[in-house]
C-alpha cells in the first residue's frame, strides 16, 4: 500500500496525533500474510485501523479471518483490516484510489457524503458495473470539500461484513475551532451470521432478533406499575394492529456485537490524551442497522460538525447517531482520569465502548444501559396531542417558503459582507481545484459544479437575473397513502419532531442534541428558493419486511427526475413505526430546521416515526444518484430510489 507521505501543513496538528497515526500498524495487516493460522482481530486484544494519507492510494479488498465475538468468522476487509484504514485527504487535492477486488464476488467502494462525479460514486448499477473479482478500478476525483466522512461497499451485504472505513478530509483553511488531538471513533455492528441469512430470517419472522416482545411475564411487571387495566388496554391497542411498541431495531444485540474502531467492548479501544487538551472525536456511525446513543459520562461534548459540515458549537451530554451520520465533537478532559466513550444501541441490546485516558491501562466504569425505549402513540401519529401537532404542521407548511424567501434576500447581503472580510484572498478551493483538474472539472461553460461546500470564504452562487422575477413554487401533490401489503400504517397526523431527541432520550436528565440544535456555521451557498416540491412517504410493512417509498419498492418505481441546476424541496413523511436514515448521494440535503440561510448541510437525515421533515436540494451535479434508507436491510428490501439529475 503506497502513499506519497505528504506532510500535513496544518499548524495545530499535534505530535501525539502523528504518533497515533503511525503507531497503528494493525495486526490485521499481519494476518493478511499469516493466513488462517493467525487470528486477525481477537476479542480482547485492542486493534486500531491504520491511517493512510496522501493523494494516491491502493486498496485491496479481500476476505479476512476475524474473531470479534469469541468465534472465528470471516470479514470482508480493506488492506487486510476491518474496518479498513482511515483515509486522510486534503481539500483541493485530486485523489486517485486504485481498488483491487480479491473477493470472489463483485464489490465496490462508495465514498459516503462525497460530492464527486457520478461515475466515481461507487454504486454498482448506477455509477458503474461494480468491481469484478480480480479487477482493479481506479477512482480519480477532485476533493472539493472537507470534514469527516466514511466509505463502504455498496455491493451485496459487504458493508455488514466489515467493508467500511473512515474518511477524514483536512480543510484548506484552519479549523474554525481549535483542538490539540483527534481520534476517529468509527462505530459499527458486527455479526458472525451470514447477512443474507439475516435478511431471509427477517422475511420469514420479522421479529426474529427481538427478544423484548410483550410477554405474560413483563405484563405482570408492567401491571404492577401502571395497573392491569391500562396495561392490557395499551397492549390490545398495539396487538389490534399487529404491531409492537418494542420494535426498536430490526436486528439487535441477539445477532450483533457493537464495535468501536473495530474493537468489541471487552477489547476496549483506547485513546490517549494529556489533561487539558482539546480532543476532537470524529464519530462515524458505520453500522448496518444500529442507531447509537453516544455519551462520555463526566465530559460535556461540543458538537462542531455534522455530516462533514461545520455547525455552530453546541454543548451536549449525549447525541443520537442514525446509521451513516457523522458528528465531530470536541471534549476537554481536565482531570487526570479515564473516561468511557459509551455508545449504546437504541434498542439497548448492547453497546460499543472505548476509553479516553491519560495513561494506558486506565479505564473508567462502563455505565449501565438506559431503559429500553418503546414506541408510543406519538410514533404512530395518533397521539392525544393530535391537535397540537396539527398546529405545528400547519405552521411548517405555510412558513416553509417564507423562510426561504427571507434567506434568499439575506444571502445576497451576507455574500457581500463576507467578501469584504475575506475578499483579499483567492477563492482558494474552486480556483485550485480548477487548476488541478482541468479534465475532470465539470465546467460546462455556465459555471462550476458542484457548488462549493459552505465555508468562511465561500460566496453564494449567482442567481439568474436576481430579483427580476418572482420564483414560483410548484407544490407536490399530497399523496393519499392507503394501507396495503407494502404499507402497514398511515399515520393520522404527522408532525415536525426536530426538537425531539428521539425515542428513549426524552427527559433523561441529560442535554441531548436535537436536529433543531444544528445551525450551520456558514451561510448556505444557494440562496434561491425552491421551485418544486417532491413529497415522499417512507412506507413499509414490518410483518412482511417490505420497505419502500410511497408504497413502492425500487424495482417497481421510476427514477426521480431532477433538472440540472434546479433547486427543490424534498418533503419526507414517515408512515412507518421506525426511524429511517435517508441518504441522498452526490447532492447535499439542506435540512429545513428553522435556521434559514444557516440550515445545516447533511448527507443523511433521520426521519422519526410519524414525522414530516423537509430539506432543500440543489441539483448541481448531473448523475444517477442513489437515494435510500441507510438501514442496510431496508435498502435491500426496496427502500431505494434513483435520483437522476440531467
Amino acid at each position: 500500500m503506497s502513499t506519497n507521505g505528504r506532510k500535513s501543513h496544518r499548524p495545530n496538528i499535534s505530535i501525539s496525533r502523528r504518533h497515533f497515526v503511525q503507531g497503528m500498524a494493525s495486526a490485521g495487516v499481519l494476518a493478511a500474510f499469516g493466513g488462517n493460522c493467525l487470528p486477525a482481530l481477537s476479542e480482547s486484544a485492542e486493534q486500531k485501523p491504520t491511517e493512510l494519507s496522501g493523494t494516491h492510494f491502493e486498496l485491496t479488498l479481500d476476505t479476512l479471518p476475524v474473531n470479534f465475538t469469541g468465534r472465528d468468522s470471516v470479514a470482508t476487509a480493506v488492506n487486510g483490516s476491518s474496518p479498513g484504514p482511515t483515509l486522510r485527504w486534503r481539500e483541493g487535492d485530486t485523489i486517485t484510489i486504485a481498488v483491487t477486488n480479491r473477493l470472489k464476488e463483485s464489490s465496490s467502494i462508495h465514498w459516503h457524503g462525497m460530492r464527486i462525479p457520478t461515475e466515481m460514486d461507487g454504486v454498482p448499477g448506477l455509477s458503474y458495473r461494480g468491481i469484478a473479482p480480480g479487477e482493479t478500478f481506479v477512482y480519480r476525483f477532485p476533493v472539493l470539500q472537507s470534514g469527516t466522512y466514511w466509505y463502504h461497499s455498496h455491493a451485496q451485504f459487504q458493508e455488514q461484513t466489515g467493508l467500511l472505513g473512515a474518511l477524514v478530509i483536512e480543510p484548506r483553511d484552519p479549523y474554525p475551532v481549535e483542538f490539540d488531538r483527534e481520534y476517529v471513533v468509527l462505530l459499527s455492528d458486527w455479526t458472525d451470521a451470514n447477512p443474507e441469512s439475516i435478511f431471509s430470517n427477517l422475511k420469514q419472522e420479522s421479529d426474529y432478533y427481538n427478544y423484548h416482545r410483550h410477554t405474560v411475564a413483563n405484563f405482570i411487571g408492567e401491571a404492577k406499575d401502571k395497573g392491569a387495566g391500562s396495561t392490557l388496554k395499551e397492549r390490545m391497542a398495539w396487538a389490534r394492529m399487529n404491531m409492537s411498541p418494542n420494535d426498536i431495531a430490526d436486528v439487535s444485540g441477539a445477532a450483533y456485537t457493537y464495535l468501536l474502531n473495530g474493537n468489541a467492548p471487552r477489547a476496549n479501544w483506547t485513546g490517549l490524551y494529556r489533561p487539558g487538551e482539546r480532543v476532537r472525536l470524529r464519530f462515524i456511525n458505520g453500522s448496518s442497522m444500529t442507531f447509537f446513543d453516544v455519551r462520555i459520562p463526566g465530559l460535556a461534548m461540543t458538537v462542531v460538525q455534522a455530516d462533514g459540515n461545520d455547525v455552530e458549537p453546541v454543548v451536549v451530554d449525549e447525541f443520537r447517531m442514525g446509521v451513516a451520520e457523522t458528528y465531530d465533537v470536541i471534549v476537554q478532559p481536565t482531570a487526570n482520569d479515564a473516561y468511557t466513550i459509551f455508545a449504546q444501541a437504541e434498542d439497548r441490546t448492547g453497546f460499543a465502548r472505548g476509553t479516553l485516558t491519560p495513561k494506558l491501562g486506565l479505564a473508567a466504569a462502563v455505565p449501565a444501559m438506559d431503559p429500553r425505549p418503546r414506541r408510543t402513540m406519538m410514533d404512530m401519529g395518533m397521539g392525544s396531542m393530535a391537535g397540537m401537532k396539527m398546529g405545528g404542521m400547519k405552521g411548517m407548511d405555510t412558513s416553509g417558503t417564507q423562510v426561504m424567501d427571507m434567506s434568499g434576500m439575506n444571502g445576497r447581503k451576507m455574500g457581500v459582507a463576507s467578501m469584504t472580510s475575506g475578499g483579499s484572498t483567492m477563492p482558494a478551493m474552486s480556483d485550485d481545484a480548477h487548476r488541478a483538474m482541468p479534465g475532470m472539472q465539470m465546467s460546462n461553460g455556465a459555471g462550476l459544479t458542484p457548488f462549493p461546500q459552505p465555508g468562511l470564504k465561500t460566496k453564494p452562487i449567482a442567481e439568474p437575473r436576481a430579483g427580476a422575477e418572482e420564483v414560483k413554487l410548484t407544490p407536490s401533490k399530497p399523496l393519499k397513502m392507503r394501507v396495503g401489503p407494502q404499507v402497514a400504517a398511515v399515520p393520522m397526523t404527522v408532525s415536525s419532531r426536530l426538537n425531539d431527541p428521539g425515542d428513549g432520550l426524552e427527559n433523561n436528565g441529560r442535554r441531548v442534541l436535537t436536529y433543531a440544535d444544528l445551525r450551520a456555521r456558514y451561510r448556505g451557498v444557494d440562496s434561491r428558493p425552491p421551485t418544486r416540491e417532491i413529497e415522499l412517504h417512507l412506507t413499509g410493512n414490518m410483518q412482511r419486511f417490505i420497505w419502500g417509498f410511497n408504497g413502492q419498492k425500487f424495482s417497481s418505481a421510476e427514477p426521480i427526475e431532477l433538472k440540472l441546476g434546479e433547486r427543490i424541496r424534498i418533503v419526507l413523511i414517515n408512515d412507518s413505526m421506525m426511524e429511517h436514515p435517508i441518504h441522498l448521494h452526490g447532492l447535499w440535503s439542506e435540512l429545513e430546521n428553522g435556521h434559514g440561510a444557516f440550515n445545516p448541510y447533511k448527507h443523511t437525515i433521520i426521519v422519526k416515526p410519524a414525522e414530516r421533515v423537509s430539506y432543500l436540494v440543489s441539483a448541481d451535479t448531473p448523475g444517477r444518484w442513489a437515494y435510500h434508507c441507510h438501514l442496510l436491510y431496508h435498502m435491500h428490501a426496496g427502500m431505494f430510489r434513483t435520483v437522476v439529475v440531467s
Binding site: S106, T118, E119, P124, G125, Y128, G130, N201, K203, Q204, E205, R213, T215, V216, A239, N242, R412, G415, V416, M419, T420, G423, S424, T425, M426, P427, N444, A446, G447, L448, T449, P452, K459, P460, I461, A462, E463, R482, V483, G484, P485, Q486, V525, R528, N541, Q543, R544, K553, F554, S555, L564, G565, D620, A626, H628, M635, H636, A637, T642, S646
Partner: protein, 269 residues
C-alpha cells in the same frame, strides 16, 4: 447566467478579485457571480453500461419451510406420528406455497393432505395473502384431488388465520379453517393454542367422510425457543370426528376421538 463562468475564467488573478472587492459597493451584483453559478446546459448522462446489475435486488427469491407440528401423539389407542408443515418459495409478491399434513402409524397414513398453491398478497390488505391451487389427499385411502382457494395471514391480535375452500369432481365441496395464536409467557416459553376444522358438502364413504362438520384437530403446546428455528415442545391434542364422519369411523371399529399427549419439535429453516 452564462456569463458567470466566463467572468471566473476571465478574472483568474488575485488582483482582479482585490479590485472588485474594493469597489464592491458599486458592482455587488456582478460580485455574486464571481463564484460558481447555476449550471445551465445539461449534458446528456452517459447511458448505463451493459451488464450493470440492479442497484439493489429487492425481488430476491426466498424459501422457507416451517413445521408447526412434528410430533408423536400418545393416546390410549397407541402412538401416532403427526406432521403439519408449510413452506414457501418466491418473492414478496409471488410465491409458491406448499402445505402438508398427515398422520402415520401402524403402517398406514391417514388425513394426508398435500397442497400446492400460488400465493399473492391481497391489495389493500396488510397481512393477508390470497392462495389458489390444488389439494391432493394422498395417504393410504383413495386419492382425491381438489381445486383450492383460500386466504392466509395475520388477523388482528397476531392471530394466524387460514380458511380454505375446496371443490372437486362430482360437485364435492369442502372447507377448512385453521388458526393458531402464540402466547409468549416469557421471551422463550410460548404457549400455542391451535385448531383445524373440516367441513364437507357430500359424503365420501371411501374416505370415511360424512357431509357437514366432519372433524376437528386441536391442541395446546408449550414450546421452548431454544433457538428461533428449533423449539422443542410438549402439549395436549384432541382429534375428533363428528356427524357422518364419526358414523363411518365407528363402523370401521375405530375411535371417533382421541385425546393425546404430544411431544415434538417446531422447526423452520
Amino acid at each position: 447566467m452564462n456569463t458567470a463562468g466566463n467572468i471566473l475564467h476571465g478574472i483568474g488573478s488575485v488582483r482582479a478579485i482585490v479590485i472588485i472587492a474594493l469597489c464592491f459597493g458599486l458592482i455587488s451584483a456582478k460580485l455574486a457571480n464571481a463564484q460558481a453559478s447555476i449550471p445551465a446546459a445539461p449534458e446528456p448522462l452517459p447511458p448505463k453500461g451493459p451488464g450493470w446489475p440492479p442497484a439493489v435486488r429487492d425481488n430476491t427469491v426466498f424459501a422457507h419451510v416451517l413445521f408447526d407440528q412434528l410430533e408423536g401423539r400418545a393416546s390410549s389407542s397407541g402412538t401416532l406420528f403427526r406432521w403439519d408443515g408449510q413452506g414457501w418459495v418466491g418473492t414478496d409478491m409471488n410465491r409458491l406455497w406448499l402445505k402438508s399434513e398427515g398422520f402415520a402409524g401402524d403402517g398406514t397414513v391417514s388425513d394426508g393432505d398435500q397442497e400446492a398453491l400460488y400465493d399473492r398478497p391481497i391489495p389493500h390488505m396488510r397481512y393477508f395473502d390470497a392462495q389458489a391451487g390444488v389439494r391432493a389427499d394422498l395417504d393410504s385411502g383413495p386419492t382425491r384431488v381438489w381445486a383450492a382457494v383460500g386466504v392466509e395471514g395475520l388477523a388482528p391480535y397476531f392471530f394466524n388465520f387460514e380458511p380454505t375452500f375446496y371443490i372437486r369432481d362430482g360437485g364435492h365441496m369442502a372447507g377448512r379453517i385453521s388458526g393458531s395464536w402464540d402466547l409468549f409467557i416469557t421471551q422463550r416459553w410460548v404457549v400455542q393454542p391451535q385448531a383445524e376444522l373440516n367441513f364437507y358438502s357430500k359424503d365420501d364413504p371411501a374416505r370415511q367422510i360424512g357431509s357437514g362438520f366432519s372433524d376437528i384437530d386441536t391442541g395446546v403446546r408449550l414450546r421452548y425457543v431454544l433457538t428461533r428455528k428449533f423449539n422443542p415442545y410438549i402439549g395436549w391434542a384432541y382429534d375428533g370426528k363428528y356427524g357422518g364422519s364419526a358414523r363411518y369411523t365407528r363402523q370401521s371399529k375405530e375411535a371417533t376421538s382421541n385425546s393425546s399427549f404430544v411431544f415434538g419439535f417446531r422447526v423452520w429453516y
